[in-house]
Amino acid sequence: MFEIGPLLIQAFTYARQFLTTLGATPLQAVVGIKFLQTTLTISIILAIPLFLVYAERKISAFMQARLGPMHTGPWGLLQTPADTIKLLFKEDIVPQGADRLLHLLAVILAAAPVFVCFAPVPWGTGFPLINLDTGILFVFAVSGVSTLGILAAGWGSGNKFSMLGGLRGAAQMVSYEIPRALSVVPVVLFYSSLNLQTIATAQMERWHGWMPKWFIFYPGIGQIAFIVFLIASVAETNRIPFDIPEAESELVSGYHTEYSGMKFAFFFLAEYVYVFLSSALVTTLFLGGADGAAFLPSWMWFLGKTLLIVFLFLWFRWTFPRLRVDRLMQFCWQFLLPLALVNIVLTVGWMMCKTPSQDVLPTQAAIPSSEMHGSPDDAGLTKAVEK
């Protein structure tokens, strides 16, 4: 049906030709198109938290025998825009003892990386912004930078409680990055590529016709990797049951106590975009990305699965109490990490027995020729690397 992916590609190719006719060199045309694609993607991503905040309030309300926002707009639909406008006009207070520059920088460091991480994520056929070869590694690298944002927020606010909250938050995020990365290693090993697009397309096949070959359906290794990645992602986004940094009851909402107005809004925006990013990763890695029956366009399949995982995140938040800090760290280092390592061993065992004859390391030729789109310089992708 109305697949948006290919339409966009044609649109961008026409735009590039139009730019070249205007006299721009091919390189400048490509940069211009990339700029256009980025603004398009960021505008979509900015719209997501608007919806997610409303969804969280409504879902939590239904789970708690109440109605949630009903007054602003029909069924409270205009609640989030109303909140954003309110926060826009709120006075932006910087505490007296705080380091002003750092106070502002912390917000940028916490919010900006999350948008960059969306580049390699494949929304549907022919849709990823950049068909990045080091897809998943790039995402982890850039999302690591937001930990700095929390530390800077903790230190920049100048008060003892937010400093404690910042330290705890950073410690939690750094220690949960490891099981998160290790839980992805089986997927990368299995499809022998870091590129999210190849991983997604490789899961398109079917077991004897109907059963989709998503990674989660591989008995044993699939489920373990899925669970470890999901738990680590919940911890990475600082949501209950891992929200020690802003544990309201103890540290009076941790590192973003001293933020108000639009800066406070950005912290929340970053959290919700981060939740959406983690769900998108879960969908791409374990649920076959945009793979789905033909009656729905591929990007709609992708969006549907991601929102399902987002619902899981919301569901966790309103049912689980909070873990104590040391139990949380102990859970990470003594349960999640060993489980992820064991899973890697299992995957290698599975791969060995699956193709005993073929040498485990795929030869160069076996690099899947990823779909061709985007600018001319991507043409180099198909050429196998001889060195």
């Binding site: 025998a65 049912t319 139990r327």
Partner: protein
Amino acid sequence: MIDPPLLNKAVVPASALDVFPTQAPEKGMFISLGPHHPSTHGVLRVAITTEGEIVTGAQPDIGYLHRATEKLAEKRTYPQIIVLTDRLDYLAAMTNNWSYCLAVEKMLNVAIPERADYLRMIVGELQRIASHCVFIGTYGIDIGAFTPFFYSFGRERERILDLFEELCGARLTYNYVRIGGVMADAPDGWLDKVKVFVKEMYAAADEYDKLLTYNPIFTDRTQGIGIMTSEVAKAWGVTGPNLRASGERADVRIDDPYGLYPRVKFDIPIGKNGDCWERYKCRVDEVRESLKIIEQALAQIQPGETMGKVAKYFRVPPGEGYGHLEAPRGDLGFYIISDGSPSPYRFHIRAPSFINLQVLQQLLKGWKVADVIAILGSIDIVLGEVDR
């Protein structure tokens, strides 16, 4: 480093506790929790000295809600004081009134009609359930689970308050129990509504168990934390569910029976090692016991008089009297000395929350900062009763 279990076993002599930590110790940090802290259940300040994450000293600082109830009582006649007792433990006003009326009736030596006593018992147990519902909700929030609050506080307690509103017109400060009986008979159909509520409340209690009591993260946060042995509890005068959770079978309804409790059969939930989880579990089980009591009371109640022969304006013969009962938070008693005039000469309130709170000085030492909130919440205090 103080290792918590050892310290809580032996009763630390009061003199060994630190006086008042006001400045940061040389190594650790000084945290003043409250009085505007979201989880100290009202206006209570706890000054805590910590060494890293471990609490080395704690001294609750109270008095922010002191209204000199005992001084006011000396200027009021006996019936007027009932209104004062409503505001002591504002989450359990019925049992406050009842306890005060018990004390005065003991001094007046007046007989209570049977129907009034049954109504008092039904209303007292309903109040216990409502108070425990508040505890279950707020304790969930302390540990981080937001949803149980909307079920226990938002749904169950509201229904009890509606029942009370229908009975005596008020939702918080009832002064329904009067000296010599109760204000008015239950409106017709009210007892059936209570019967319906009791049936549904059983299901709600099981729901709390599923949602919170056996939730692995909740048990991980509360089991084995804030252990209070029964010696420590008795030494510090702790009463109510906190003492029973430490394995001590102490309940005023059994030890010093009042009203018509000898006519109803119910058992006392007892804990074993007195940690936060047991204190929480005892209260959830007590809700079920109260439901049993109400059922039996509903079965036995007969129509009849609801007000004994007490003059509107009476004097109490000179002498002293002490009446007490099992309030939701512990042994609530009123010690009254009368000099024959219409108002008492001396009026002292034995407030369970005030005495239970003392144990924090010893109980908090050696646990982590994250546990302070769990332990403080498990003691379940109400500041109106602490500060009087």
